[in-house]
């Protein structure tokens, strides 16, 4: 009896193994079909080479490019038509590539940003020739819900995108000039804070209201020294342009990337930094009347691009901070 059971189960196990192999080879077949290869080559591939090729394909495929970009690619015609969008646009806007391509960007962007977009689309022959660069911030409709699902466009929210890129001549049938842009959301939420970044909070006029302890090791200031002072007191005069653009973007669009500017080090001298900032709305008043709801503060993550030697900073602590400013209190007599 036992022997019979065993032989039966042996037979079934053989059968099972066969099925398993079949499933496996089916998977390999699927895999090889996914590879961008000529069918003739594809049929001659053995399993290891399928794996090998799949690996190299996965490793360096286009998704890797788009993923490292943390955003999507957009090609805009001079009229604002979205000639091309990479298909990962869905992840950021909740709308698919096919839904969006061929539409005009003005239909999807905030009315207040239209003039800026239009300005960036205006191209002269010279700009096309030089491949001029573009760098601006826009608000675009996003059908994504908080849980990452696509929702109806009617309930679309505005998403801030940082568009960077350049002017390019498209080689398609008729050579037209267009804007080649990478659009990325502000990476604030998943910024991995390293030892070379510090966070700060500012009131809407850029006065420090909070500052990270790490500032001591980076720029030499203690948080107490900064709180209440304007960021502008600590910036290089020649960078005012970059800073005012940043500030305006924050006031109007609630998020911004500053670009590189110089910040005063406590002991003297400047270091190059870059800030990524967002306006944090105050949460409390959201239940009261919305009209009283005002942005609470600006949150900045600042990357220190060049470090100051710690010895220098230590030395600088011996001196007192001398940052004269015309304070309002003088005049408020």
């Amino acid at each position: 009896e036992d022997v019979a059971v065993i032989s039966f189960s042996k037979a079934t196990s053989r059968e099972a193994a066969r099925k398993r192999r079949r499933v496996e080879s089916d998977v390999f077949g699927d895999l090889s079909r996914l590879l961008p290869l000529q069918p003739s080559i594809r049929t001659h591939l053995d399993k290891p080479s399928v794996i090998r090729l799949t690996l190299s394909y996965i490793q360096f495929d286009i998704y890797m490019y788009l993923r490292t970009l943390e955003g999507f690619l957009m090609v805009l015609s001079t009229e604002g038509d979205m000639i091309f969008l990479s298909d990962n646009v869905t992840k950021y806007m909740g709308l698919t590539q096919t839904e969006l391509m061929g539409h005009n960007i003005f239909e999807y962007t905030h009315p207040c940003d239209h003039e800026e977009i239009r300005h960036n689309l205006r191209l002269t022959a010279e700009q096309v020739w030089c491949g001029e660069k573009r760098d601006f911030v826009i608000r675009i409709k996003s059908a994504l819900t908080h849980r990452g699902r696509s929702a109806n466009l009617k309930s679309a929210t505005w998403k801030v995108l940082h568009c960077q890129g350049r002017v390019k001549v498209c080689m398609s049938p008729s050579s037209i000039s267009c804007l080649l842009l990478t659009c990325r959301p502000l990476p604030l939420s998943h910024t991995l804070l390293s030892t070379h970044t510090f966070t700060s909070q500012h009131s809407m006029d850029m006065k420090f209201t909070y500052c990270d302890q790490r500032l001591i090791s980076l720029l030499g200031y203690t948080p107490e020294e900064l709180v209440g002072r304007s960021l502008y007191d600590f910036c290089h005069t020649l960078d005012y342009n970059c800073l005012s653009k940043n500030h305006l973007n924050l006031c109007l669009k609630s998020q911004s990337v500053s670009g590189q500017y110089r910040m005063l080090v406590r002991g003297g001298g400047y270091v190059w930094v870059e800030s990524h900032s967002a306006v944090i709305p105050s949460v409390k008043s959201s239940r009261s009347r919305p009209i009283t709801h005002q942005p609470l503060c600006i949150l900045s993550v600042t990357y220190v691009l060049r470090c100051v030697s710690s010895a220098f900073l230590r030395e600088s602590h011996c001196r007192d901070l001398k940052l004269p400013r015309f304070s309002k209190s003088i005049t408020d007599f």
Partner: protein
């Protein structure tokens, strides 16, 4: 104790070839089988929870064939090895296993009570009190399976059959589970469909109800428009001047696309992912748009595994030069630590924090310890300086001068913004590349950073900024009251003062008395103007008591939020160096006119407030600036509504404040003269800025330096001020700050 025994026997089982189903089952007393089943059923209740140090995962064949008994040998074997793995980890970790593992007991086959695996093991042990010890069990298993089965006790047989039936008994719940997941999938698909439906809805997004015919007409027009565009793009359509019907155009389009694809070599017809652009081209576009290069760097030694071709354009190194090298050889020595920190996958740095942009709070990572860094997909974003290859320059030098000593000249670096993510590959697969096997880690995974290195357009401003300023120029910055808040280092060579000597003092202390009225006037002007104000030539007292003649260009920087003057920037040009107190050599005409002007002004000196009342008395010059600043503040206070102290962009347009006398300026002040350009900002870049903000400025109302009417966006011009202000608030609120967990705007149901 029991658990330890189970682990041992399992170890044996996984190590041995398993003869047959019965033999295997018989080798295990019910207690073990119940434990064996436990992770299995756990698979179906999805115990891949984070608290588990391991996830019990079963290969698809098991799930697919769960109805047939024939899968058992294979799957049982799987099960065993998994169990071992499972146990090893469960027992290695001090905390109890996930409580949701469902363990059926012989006494209560279904519904199974929820117990921890270890409890189950203990419980099973109680039941199987009469069983031989585990050591014996292992030995028995190693001998013939037939004899083993004959040795089985009745209780173990009962236990076995029970366990065997487990899959079937649980089938209902399994199917439930499966169907549930299927339904989730369905829901997802539905969502997608909704998303595509949204396309049409967006057209109506801002419209009120319209007559149907109108909507239809618009749709038709749009369609025709698209067809027209299409026909314009297709070469075969062009020669025929008469308009083609839709169908023909579409057919031709199909034909055209086919021909295009036929010519493309990389195209394969069965390509799973049809895309509008070939991947290669898309990659190229991405790199081009990003102005960057892709690189893959091993985490352990920083070896460059891959770098895209575009690196040549950015760092001037060829791809072949870099691949296989250590990334650290190409990084600024001072940035080494920074990069190492980003690459280190092994440790959880105490400083690592994530930030929640909506609340501004720093979130302590609640990921399992160590996992956040290690886990593939962890994002990275950092800046570092990378070497720029200057070889071409050196070659030229060699050719022209035959001089190699210049090799030591300073290395040039590019500031590269790296964004990317961590990723790991099994080393066995990496071995195919023939490299990197040497660095096998204990985890046998090769983890690396995949990142895009971007060089921003404004990345090399320091070169422009400092080189372009002429040596006879220096920049200073004053607070509203004329006190120095910033002094360019070049000032020292011209004026003799160290920056810290000047900081905090009023510029009026250094002006020649003759020039005071003129400069005070200009000061007053610059505070109320958005334009650059040129001063006449004036004399500035150096440290040595002599005077240097300067001419300055002033402009005020206004805080975009408060609309208050933050500071005054002054670009000072040296006209002549004069060591005699009174002598005026160069620029005769200028000087004389200046002198006349100042003489004129001398008479009108009493105009200066604060001085006027006390003629003849020696007045502290610094107070002039304070006076002027206060004057402006008082003026603002009087002119604007009570809220002037804290003007926000939300405040509605008030009567035009001080700047009405400057309506011409149409741009944001460009700030700099032609020979002193702001780094990285060409004038053309300023323009969009000015224009862009105009829409917003119009909402903000007062103090706008822009001529709003000319540039107000069409979207807003039709709105009333209230609506416009509301729109700004709305946009601020609605803007998704890119957070995972959000403060819910959903809570605020307020209609527009």
């Amino acid at each position: 104790m029991q658990a330890a025994g189970a682990r041992r026997s399992c170890g044996g089982a996984s190590g041995e070839p398993v003869g047959g189903d019965c033999a295997l089952s018989s080798a295990f007393p019910p207690l073990l089988l119940s434990v064996l089943i436990a992770p299995h059923s756990a698979t179906f209740v999805h115990v891949s929870a984070p608290s588990h140090s391991c996830c019990v995962f079963f290969p698809p064949p098991w799930r697919g064939k769960k109805k047939t008994k024939t899968r058992r040998p294979y799957s049982t074997w799987r099960l065993l090895s998994n169990l071992c793995y499972h146990h090893k980890h469960c027992l290695g970790v001090s905390r109890p296993p996930h409580p949701c593992i469902v363990v059926p007991g012989p006494s209560a086959p279904a519904p199974a009570p929820a117990m921890s695996a270890r409890n189950a093991a203990a419980g099973g042990g109680d039941r199987a009190g009469g069983e031989p010890a585990e050591d014996v069990l292992v030995e028995e298993k190693q001998s013939s399976s037939v004899s083993l089965s004959s040795l089985m006790t009745p209780s173990s047989v009962a236990g076995m059959s029970l366990s065997m039936e487990m899959p079937r008994k649980r089938k209902g719940s399994i199917d439930n589970q499966d169907s549930k997941s299927v339904s989730i999938l369905d829901a997802d698909m539905d969502d997608d469909q909704n998303g595509s439906d949204g396309d049409d809805q967006h057209v109506k997004i801002k419209c009120f109800r319209e007559p149907h015919s109108q909507i239809e007409k618009r749709r038709r027009d749009k369609m025709n428009n698209l067809i027209d565009k299409l026909s314009a793009m297709i070469p075969t359509c062009n020669p025929m001047s008469r308009k083609l019907d839709k169908l023909t155009v579409l057919r031709m389009a199909v034909q055209h696309l086919k021909s295009l694809k036929g010519s493309g070599s990389s195209f394969s017809e069965a390509n799973y992912k049809p895309s509008f652009l070939p991947d290669e081209e898309l990659k190229h576009l991405v790199l081009k748009a990003a102005d960057g290069f892709l690189f893959v760097v091993g985490c352990d030694r920083g070896k460059i595994v891959f770098v895209s071709e575009s690196v040549t354009k950015i760092l001037n190194y060829s791809r072949a030069e870099l691949i296989g090298q250590s990334l650290f050889d190409y990084i600024h020595p001072k940035d080494m630590g920074k990069v190492k920190e980003q690459l280190s996958a092994s440790e959880l740095y105490p400083r690592e924090r994530l930030i929640d942009a909506k609340t501004g709070l720093q979130v302590q990572a609640d990921l399992p310890v160590g996992a956040s860094r290690l886990c593939p997909g962890a994002r990275r974003s950092f800046f570092c300086r990378m070497k720029y290859n200057k070889i071409s320059v050196k070659v030229e030098e060699k050719e022209s001068q035959g001089n190699t000593s210049k090799k030591k000249e300073s290395q040039k670096y590019c500031t590269v913004h790296c964004t990317g993510y961590m990723r790991s590959w099994p080393t066995s697969q990496m071995g195919a590349d023939g490299e990197g096997e040497g660095d096998k880690q204990d985890s046998s995974h090769f983890s690396c950073l995949v990142a895009m290195g971007r060089v921003h357009s404004h990345s090399s401003p320091q070169v422009n900024g400092e080189v372009r300023v002429k040596p006879t120029e220096f920049v200073t910055r004053y607070a509203m009251d004329g006190k120095f808040t910033f002094v360019d280092q070049r000032a020292t060579t011209i004026l003799g003062y160290l920056p810290q000597e000047l900081l905090g003092t009023s510029c009026y202390e250094y002006f020649h008395q003759d020039d005071l009225p003129h400069l005070a006037d200009r000061h007053r002007k610059v505070l109320r103007s958005k334009e650059k104000i040129e001063t006449n030539c004036y004399k500035f007292k150096t440290k040595y008591g002599s005077f240097v003649t300067l001419q300055s260009q002033w402009f005020s920087f206004v805080n975009p939020w408060t609309k208050e003057v933050e500071y005054i920037v002054s670009t000072n040009t040296v006209i002549s160096h004069d060591h005699s107190r009174t002598g005026r050599s160069g620029n005769k005409s200028e000087q004389s006119s200046n002198a006349k002007a100042s003489e004129d002004c001398k008479k009108s000196l009493p105009i200066i407030p604060g001085i006027s009342t006390t003629p003849g008395a020696m007045i502290y010059a610094g107070s002039i600036g304070t006076q002027i600043a206060n004057e402006l503040l008082d003026f603002n206070r009087m002119n604007s509504s009570p809220s002037s102290g804290n003007v926000s962009p939300f405040s509605l347009p008030q009567d035009k404040s001080p700047h009405t006398h400057n309506p011409i300026s149409n741009n944001v002040p460009n700030g700099e003269t032609s020979d002193m350009e702001i780094p990285g900002k060409s004038s053309s870049e300023d323009e969009p800025q000015g224009a862009a903000f105009s829409g917003g400025e119009s909402l903000m109302g007062e103090n706008s330096q822009l001529d709003l009417d000319s540039v107000v966006g069409p979207g807003l011009s039709s709105l009333s001020n209230d609506e416009a202000a509301m729109a700004v608030i709305m946009s601020l609120l609605e803007t998704d700050t890119n957070l995972g967990e959000a403060v819910d705007f959903e809570e605020m149901h307020w209609s527009l």
